[in-house]
Point group: C2
Amino acid sequence: MKAQLLTIGDELLIGQTTNTNAAWLGGRLSRLGVRMTRTVTVGDAREAIFRELDRAYEEARLVICTGGLGPTHDDLTRTVIADYFGAPLQTDPDVLERVRQYYDRRNRDVPPSAPALAQRPEGFETLDNPVGAAVGLWHEAPDGRLIVLLPGIPEEMTAIFEASVQPRLEEQSGVGEVRHRTLVTAGIGETALQEKLGDLSDVLGDDVSLAYLPSTSGVRLRLSADARQTTAGARLDTVEAAIRERAGDDIIGTGDVTLEAVLGDALRARDATIASAESATGGLIGHRLTGVSGSSDYYLGSVVAYANSAKKTVLGVDEAAIREHGAVSEAVAVQMAEGVREALGTTVGVSTTGIAGPTGGTPDKPVGTVWVGYADASERHARRHQFVEDRTLNKELFASAALEEARRTLSV
Amino acid sequence: MKAQLLTIGDELLIGQTTNTNAAWLGGRLSRLGVRMTRTVTVGDAREAIFRELDRAYEEARLVICTGGLGPTHDDLTRTVIADYFGAPLQTDPDVLERVRQYYDRRNRDVPPSAPALAQRPEGFETLDNPVGAAVGLWHEAPDGRLIVLLPGIPEEMTAIFEASVQPRLEEQSGVGEVRHRTLVTAGIGETALQEKLGDLSDVLGDDVSLAYLPSTSGVRLRLSADARQTTAGARLDTVEAAIRERAGDDIIGTGDVTLEAVLGDALRARDATIASAESATGGLIGHRLTGVSGSSDYYLGSVVAYANSAKKTVLGVDEAAIREHGAVSEAVAVQMAEGVREALGTTVGVSTTGIAGPTGGTPDKPVGTVWVGYADASERHARRHQFVEDRTLNKELFASAALEEARRTLSV
């Protein structure tokens, strides 16, 4: 099944909102094997919505529109769709009742604009919104073409998709065209990984394709095969096995797995706990570890020692080590990891001390330099990395290096 | 000037990369007054690129394409553009030399695919890439239509845009169609802000429009006026003054200003320093404060006390306070703020203790509950907020509440 996505909203066009809905829906649809061929964003403008709807409906079997379903006069999607299909808008009394209940439960007055939320074009079905007032809409044409309207607010969009859209799509025939499998690596750059994997053309053959997707937490390897071939699963297994044989140590999991979740599982399996001592990352390691629900099982806390005074007083780093080697050094990284382990009483301590930039670089330690430290009961060491020139990227890369240092050391 | 953006890459369609380029370019173009009317994403597919290029070139005076300019066989943009304009690809010897130098400086072998990076369609000018090997391309048609090709890697795209595209656009006539002004608020929700501003229709008139843009760090108010009217600047001034009269305390700045940068400026102006004691935010306050370059002037560090044991040992929170009131309480929030202020020797301490979810909620303290604490030499208090049910959103909202608590208390 081919799909196109139409995201509607001026805020997307002028860059005041990043279009995370497109990435989320793209990921979900591709896991169902749907082939997303185009994503379009237009503003809250009637003519533009109409034109893009027409193009998408022509080019794909499934069209998903997000945004413009709210109750204000900016929200044009409902009326444009009604006009496009020549389907008059009708008030759905059940939906109206649920909208009223939604506001009642929150002890809020029902706004005068609420009835607009209960309108649907004739022939459209409503899709319940588990977390908000605006419902989704679903339409299946006699020729099998599908159109789905979802609110633009990400939490509402994802909730309706998961509760209603995905189950309905799974019942459609011919949904799966492409089968993807993603192998997630950590601790290795794209070039080094390519060298390690070597020439894969014989393994890939004509029917499996491989893409390298680098990010600040590692390179993902995406394999794709034609889902309509009965051999697709076996062929993906063969290619995955070949890749694992060459780069097994670097592969931390498949699908949407994150480095912080894999590290968390490793800690939980060992009944171990962790704390981070952070300088250049400023708390990002703790933020990433606590992004995983249930992380309180193994994560006890962090000390962000941005100033040297904090490294000394809270983490017990030697004045002498800082004077002799500088704050960005192997000795300080190790002492920070040991210090936080002791301060918080954890099994493992990890640390970062580096220069995120844009200022603070020296010829010996240019922007992008980081020492990552590790300490547990029997092991302590630090490793130097050299990353990039951008502050935001460096913070992410430094944090990933520390998480990966702990994961790899624990897995030995 | 109307513009459309064509972003190219399978990874965008299947959701393995979020399209941050679209938001970044949308923001930059809108600040120049360019009216972005459409953003399209297609995969690395010749026919799709050709068709969308044709549509965009028809509908807008400026077309920017990102992605597909690298050296591999997936990178189709260069050849599709050449075909579209009937302009043969030529090797630019100057660019080829610079590509060679790029690899030399990095002590890397010049890859066999490098010459592809030096090809440009006849009649296109190259735009230097200050941070990577792939150059940008610029074409101005006799009728004034512009087409700009940029690499998809965000750091390279933004570097070329800033160095070459923006200056060239500024020299074009008729660039500015829309003039935006954004007022950034903090510490007030959309509904409360709407009530505070009341009916603005008389002030806005027919020529200025107002949009509310909520985010986890606050609501932005975007004013727009027709830049071709000579009165636009004065009218925006008038509307801004009216809004400031009604909601002046809530407005922290204009444009792209962030809460963490405003707080940083306030601290620097008072020669004050800050530290955070974080539980539910897991280090995010420190991460956000250190996202601002120069934050080492006022930010000394954080203690992330995720476990209660860490709250006691590192921050000196009373066992009795936790037993009596629970970890998510006014007493513990205040003690955390005091504790981190003392541990790190700062002027100000802020703290968060709350329930980010999805688990851990109780009837008294449901998911989304947070106590934010503040302490300085003369003031200590805590404030309770009730936010949402989503873990990621709650962490951001809790961190914003703590940053805003410090900003507002300091500004009194």
